[in-house]
């Protein structure tokens, strides 16, 4: 079989075929460009009851078992207690107690040490060790901009609903007010 050059092949195409090929080429080029621009943001996801929550992975410093936590009498109900972490004392906070208890499957026994961004590390409780997951940046930004709440909902690519926690906003309540929420 004689090999023909691309230009020879294209010359044999009908106008309709050429038009169709050009349309497909443009579509492929656009899809590739969109794929390149779709950045991902990484989160640590964990369940609380029936719901999935997530915090930015860059804010996570450690995952610890819930042990050696000292309860603090007279503290607000969302304060589980205090513990030592890398030589400093940090507070352990119940996410459910802060957001409103909606039931849980197993008693949270993991503490996730996070940096909420106001100079103090805090530990938040989870039912199990979080898993890393990625979300499209566009979806995350749309969710964050669409609400002033401390927790916003976003749909994952596999159609699951995840609650993104704005750590600074959620945990800063204790700086805004000395009363329990």
């Amino acid at each position: 079989m004689k090999l023909r050059s691309l230009s020879e092949e294209l010359a044999d195409l009908s106008p309709e075929q050429r038009s169709l090929l050009e349309l497909r080429a443009r579509r492929l080029a656009t899809a590739a460009a969109e794929e390149k621009e779709e950045a991902l943001v990484y989160f640590a996801e964990f369940p609380v009851g029936e719901h999935a929550y997530a915090v930015p992975l860059e804010a996570v410093r450690a995952a610890l078992p819930l042990r050696l936590v000292t309860p603090v009498p007279l503290s607000p109900p969302h304060i589980v207690g205090v513990l030592r972490f890398q030589g400093r004392i940090i507070s352990a906070v119940s996410v459910e107690a802060l957001l409103g208890v909606r039931g849980w499957q197993q008693d949270p026994a993991v503490l996730l040490v996070v940096d909420p961004g106001f100079g103090e590390l805090t530990a938040i409780d989870c039912e199990r060790i979080p898993v890393a997951m990625a979300l499209p940046r566009s979806a995350v930004e749309a969710a964050l901009q669409g609400s002033d709440a401390a927790v916003v909902e976003v749909m994952t690519p596999d159609r699951r609903q995840v609650h993104l926690i704005k750590l600074g906003q959620l945990l800063d309540r204790r700086h805004r007010s000395d009363r329990a929420d």
Partner: protein
Amino acid sequence: MPTDLQDLLGIFLEEVRDLCRQAAKSVLELEQGTAGDGAEQQVAALARALHSIKGSGATLGVDDVARLAHALEDLIAPLRRDGERLDAASADALLRYLDVIMQRMEAHAQGRGAELTDVGPDVDELRRLASTDRPARPAKDGAGTSASAAAQSSVAHTAPRSAIRADGSNEARAAANDEDAWRVSPQKISALIREVERLREARLRASEQWRAVSSATRQLAGARPEIREALATVARGMRGEADELGSIIEGLESEIRSICTVPVAVILEPLHRTVRDVCRQSGKEARLSIVGGELELDRRLVQALRGPLVHLVRNAVDHGLESPEERRALGKHAEGALVLRVELQGNMVFVEIADDGSGIDLERVRQTALAHGLIDEAAAAAMSDAELQQLIFRPGFSTRTEVTDTSGRGVGLDLVRAEVQALRGVLEVESRRAQGTRFLLTLPTDLGSSFVLVVRCGEQLFGIPMHAVEAVVRTRRTSLRVGRHEIWLVDDDRSLPLRDLAAELRIRSPEVPEEGRPLVIVQREAHTVALSVDEVVGDRELLVHPLPSGVCPEPAYRGAAAMAQGELMLVLQPQWLVHSSNSTAEPVGATSRALVVDDSLTARAMHRAILEAGGFTVHAVGSAARALDQLRHSAYAIVVCDVSMPDMDGLAFARELRRRTDTAQLPLILVSGQDDASAREQALSAGADAFLGKRECASGRLLAEVSDVIARRRGAA
């Protein structure tokens, strides 16, 4: 630049810093005329300082610094020669150019000398000032600051550290080459301090083990004498090791302290200048008194405190104090009083800045926060005075309507608090309208420890600083006077209010202590109370660290200390102990008390959140045994108990409750992670009034179940 010359400049920088500090102090005293009969000595001291700077600067080739120092010497020549008073313009120039000398010296020490501008114009300006006829009049013109005599006596003077002489000798080089002088990085010192803290924990563990062995030995009453003697020998050996560890730790800390500490006066003394400058800018008058400047603290802490203290002092003058006219109209002295007090207790440093000004205008704070969008109307209306005071720490908050050199940009107290938090400290504020404002910084140091009396209340250990413990006694019922609202301990011709520490901490309801129960007599600020506790464990030497902000709105805790196994023990605040007096009484409007029993801290937090939102006062315990003990002494409207617990589970607990006559009718809800029909059947059979899976424990559902159960029990009664 050769390394040795760079090293010399670094040493000279410290020397210049000290000399400038001394010179500034002399300038302030001479300007205000507070030097009195010592004016001549102050002038001589000022002249010596400038001469030292000039000579050493010339020796090390920092000619710009030497020329400035020389020009300043010319400026003060009439003071020495003719005994003239220092006028305000000269004082301004001296202070300003001392700052310039410091800035230039820092640049040279950092190797940036080539970037500096020509010093010629500054020298010319000083020469012009020196040649101007100055009126021989007192410097104070109605606006300024003065240092009190008390501050003079309490501030330690820091001696120059190096051997640099004004006669241009080479002693500076000799000092740099002295092999006894080492440079150690702060990181290495921090690492050393951390190792000392580990040693301290090891000592604590050794002490606990010695106590455990001693206790076991005592219990072996029936064992053979040689076995008991062998164990006793081991115990004695362990105690000896623990004591030697303690001795080593003390020695190490002492040596580290000598390396690391400086008198806190090095940062407090310049604050007189700060007050002066702000007063001149604002037209106010203020007198700064310093108490505790002679204390020696970790130099890292001292250096880090410099910025926050400057800001707080400036804030006190600018925002706190009224103008002289306003103060006279209010019947106050025209000159405002600022007091800066530093105190060291164990390893905790307390720094207080207080003014006698107008206090925080809470209504203005509320309106400003609303105007800046920091809070909404609903939140503004609901805020308590304490919460409103906290708004001054919010970023962007300022009650100033225009920006001045001192304030108005809203970048201030939030940064101060952040800086204090970065030091693991806490910044609090108290204010009374028309009387003044007080900022209190509480900071831990890595050096030193606190003696603490360890007591047990319920399941938990707490520490009481030993300096506040007057005595530990045993309850004698004949010494108690039980009134309607208070219990009094009559002891040695005095009557002391007696409080149940566990009740003050809202761990359980107040109880009248039984015969023999330990009482800790706590004394602070002329107040004394007797505290009933469950057990006195003993005294420990511990390193206390402040709690993170927001953990507890009550000022009940000084901090927490790490115990032998790494767990934390809360250390109570003596001021709170003597003043608590029903301040933590069960909230007004609380309908009833609920007891939560769950071995999981997080589950207890969630149950507590639900029940408190429903108006209950909640006590929480971690075991069924503890709950049964608590139920003997306190009445509850409802008990919510987990099924899965070690030792005694919820089912056994329910059966025990129903067996006892005093709790047979007590409303009980069992909760479990396993919520199938079988679990429900077991719970109800054991005597529970209701059963909920934890999945179902949403706020509304649990509270509805609680109401239903209580109503059913009441109906059946």
